[in-house]
């Protein structure tokens, strides 16, 4: 599957390397209003078979960050900088045609709005078969169809073989997202990038889709990089969480770290927005900074209740490791500041219990 991709001999056989490593990712767009930096130096990794969630409010650069990985962003006007390594290969040094052989093959995508994500002029079967045939030129029509029908069946489409010739508009929203998942998994990818896969669906269907992703992840042993602003989804599916705000990483850690001891004021306020948890009924006051003109210092400082002068100068504070994988980018955790100001009250002492249940995967 990967023979067309040049092997980077230095690290190709390094088994300790994560499935996906993103370092210093910076994606900007040339606009009439100047250069818009949507993602500004972001690092994260995805291990084989694990689920990493990127969370943050709308406009914080989550989608752009994930679409930069396989170069889905149109360039120009987009411009992607940084190092992206996948399965021992550098995606950033690949040509467009090499990237194309990775896209839809080893790294696949599902998107926010299944209503619009399929071409309305072709049957769902045609569109799944297209995904197979692009990466496997030797496959026969009958074989490709059999694989597509099998995949439709596995994502829970009833009467898959007769529905193969139906058009997208003949399916419900939840079914369409299932078909998108089938289209994404039919090439047996190593990494699935799911960009708000449940946002456009109603709540009962959301749970089913997440459950399906969870089940298929075990079956296909793939890593999932999931973008969402819905912390309920995160709690249900994530192994690790990356909290993004205005193109920067604010905090990262395991799902337990983030939900039990959210350390960045932004993460705390984000969690307070969850129903039944915290008091931020009206959301977080203020709005995202102008992406063409980011503030100095911590990006969140203008909206932060604890901001001091040091938060508003220089650049985003270095990430400070709290323990293990859990790290935070906040001035209060650097030397000379009292971190107890922003530290979360421990859940035992307040007796407040997290209402969100974790899935045990």
């Amino acid at each position: 599957m990967t023979e067309s991709i040049p092997t980077d001999s230095a690290q190709a056989e390094d088994s300790t390397e994560p499935l996906l490593t993103v370092e210093g990712l910076r994606t900007k767009f040339a606009t009439d209003a100047g250069s818009l930096v949507a993602v500004d130096g972001v690092d994260f990794t995805v291990e084989k078979g694990e689920t990493v969630c990127i969370v943050g409010e709308s406009g914080s650069g989550k989608t752009v960050a994930t679409e930069s990985i396989t170069g889905l962003i149109d360039q120009p006007p987009g411009m992607i900088e940084g190092k992206i390594r996948f399965n021992g290969h550098s995606l950033t040094s690949m040509t467009e045609s090499e990237l194309r052989s990775v896209r839809g093959n080893e790294i696949t995508h599902i998107f926010q709005n299944p209503q619009e994500a399929m071409n309305h002029c072709y049957t769902v079967g045609w569109q799944i078969v297209e995904a197979i045939k692009i990466h496997d030129e030797d496959v026969t029509d009958a074989e490709a169809k059999a694989r597509a029908v099998d995949m439709l069946d596995r994502v829970g489409i009833d009467n898959a073989s007769s529905r193969f010739t139906d058009y997208p508009h003949e399916f419900s929203g939840g079914q369409k997202q299932r078909i998108m998942i089938a289209m994404a998994l039919v090439t047996d990818p190593d990494l699935l990038i799911a960009d708000e896969p449940t946002t456009a669906l109603d709540v009962t269907v959301q749970g089913q889709i997440l459950q399906l992703l969870n089940d298929l992840q075990d079956e296909f042993e793939m890593g999932i990089l999931l973008v969402t602003h819905d912390l309920g989804v995160v709690a249900q599916i994530a192994d690790r969480i990356v909290v993004m705000y205005a193109g920067k990483v604010m905090e990262r850690g395991s799902v337990f770290d983030i939900f039990d001891t959210p350390s960045h004021p932004y993460t705390q306020q984000l969690l307070d927005c969850l129903p039944g948890r915290g008091s931020a009924v009206g959301g977080i006051p203020g709005k995202l900074p102008d992406p063409t003109n980011h503030p100095d210092g911590c990006r969140f400082a203008p909206r932060c209740a604890h901001a001091v002068d040091a938060c508003k100068t220089g650049s985003q504070p270095e990430e400070i490791t709290i323990e293990g994988d859990h790290s935070v980018s906040c001035v209060y955790y650097t030397a000379g500041y009292d971190r107890s100001v922003v530290e979360p009250p421990s859940s035992e002492s307040t007796g407040k219990k997290t209402e969100v249940e974790y899935s045990d995967d």
Binding site: T108, N119, A131, M180, M183
Partner: protein
């Protein structure tokens, strides 16, 4: 299932529409003075006979003394059995005259239609893919030029430049040239060019604007994420949905030019086709031939619209035929 019923219903409507038009034509003709009757009267008066008697005789000869409904049924029978009468001017049956016209009209209409269908959408989609580049501006400028300039005038200008001054192309159309020969291509080049520039403009504009919408559609991102190449994405994922609104434009545009401009272009280039025959029939008051060509053009328009409706439903699977 649903499609078959829809096609039958649509074809039925087309038949009804053409029937209505035939009826209206008959009524207009029945209440208009008949030139051959007045001619008979004039002739009788000139030769010292009784004009009133001559009129009566002529009316009897032509069956005009029969009651209206009998004449109507007669007329209907004639129309649907292709007995369209005698062309006074050309001294041959109307159907034979029209058939001769179609022979010459088809020689430039077919290449013109094929070229419009091929070049228009491709240039339009290419324009959209390279929007606001100099190529796009060039194509847009060409489209508006062809759209704006009257075909017959453009034809005259081209004839003067390339026919008279440069002498690259023959000025007069020759019917003695074999249909499938380079000489025929040579003499039909200018008329086909004029008509293509006239019809291609709106086809290019519509395909450019429609595909501009589809090239930014979510499904294009899905296609890219699947690993589809840019060319394939445009050929399959943009071209196909663009064809749906475009089919309407193409049919109506071809009909408009076929029914209107081709007449003028035939006169400019001296092609003895349908347009030329209609024009001569009008000038010479050849009623039967005028009627015949009017009916022919109407039928072409009705059939064109029928095809447009059918193509539309076949192209866009979301349109349901069940409830209509």
């Amino acid at each position: 299932m649903g499609l078959t019923r829809y096609v039958i219903a649509r074809a039925g409507w087309a038949a009804f529409v053409s029937f209505t038009i035939v009826t209206i034509t008959f009524l207009l003709l029945a209440f208009a003075p008949n030139p051959s009757v007045s001619e008979a009267a004039t002739q009788a008066a000139l030769q010292g006979g009784d004009p009133a008697q001559a009129v009566e005789q002529e009316r009897q000869l032509r069956g005009l003394d029969q009651p209206l409904h009998v004449r109507y049924l007669d007329f209907l029978e004639g129309v649907y059995t292709l007995d369209w009468g005698w062309s006074q001017n050309r001294q041959q049956p109307v159907t034979a005259a029209l058939w001769e016209g179609i022979y010459y009209t088809a020689q430039y209409s077919i290449p013109w239609t094929v070229l419009t269908l091929l070049i228009g959408p491709i240039v339009g989609v290419y324009s959209a893919a390279n929007m606001y580049s100099w190529r796009d501006h060039l194509a847009t400028g060409f489209a508006f030029f062809g759209w704006a300039i009257p075909n017959f005038f453009f034809g005259i200008v081209l004839l003067v430049i390339f026919g008279v001054y440069l002498q690259w192309f023959p000025i007069q159309y020759s019917t003695s040239v074999p249909v499938f020969s380079l000489a025929n291509v040579h003499q039909l080049f200018l008329p086909v060019f004029v008509l293509v520039t006239g019809s291609i403009g709106s086809v290019m504009r519509v395909s450019r604007n429609e595909s501009a919408e589809f090239q930014n559609a979510e499904f294009m991102k899905t296609a890219k994420a699947k690993g589809v190449s840019v060319y394939r994405a445009y050929a399959y994922h943009v071209m196909r949905p663009t064809m749906v609104p475009l089919s309407t434009t193409i049919v109506s545009q071809l009909l408009v030019i076929f029914l209107g401009s081709s007449l003028l272009v035939e006169i400019v280039f001296g092609i003895p086709g349908l347009g030329r025959i209609t024009f001569d029939a009008l000038i010479n008051q050849d009623t039967n031939l005028v009627l015949g060509s009017t009916l022919l053009f109407t039928f072409i328009a009705v059939v064109g619209n029928l095809i447009e409706d059918l193509v539309f439903t076949v192209l866009d699977p979301r349109i349901s035929y069940d409830d209509r």
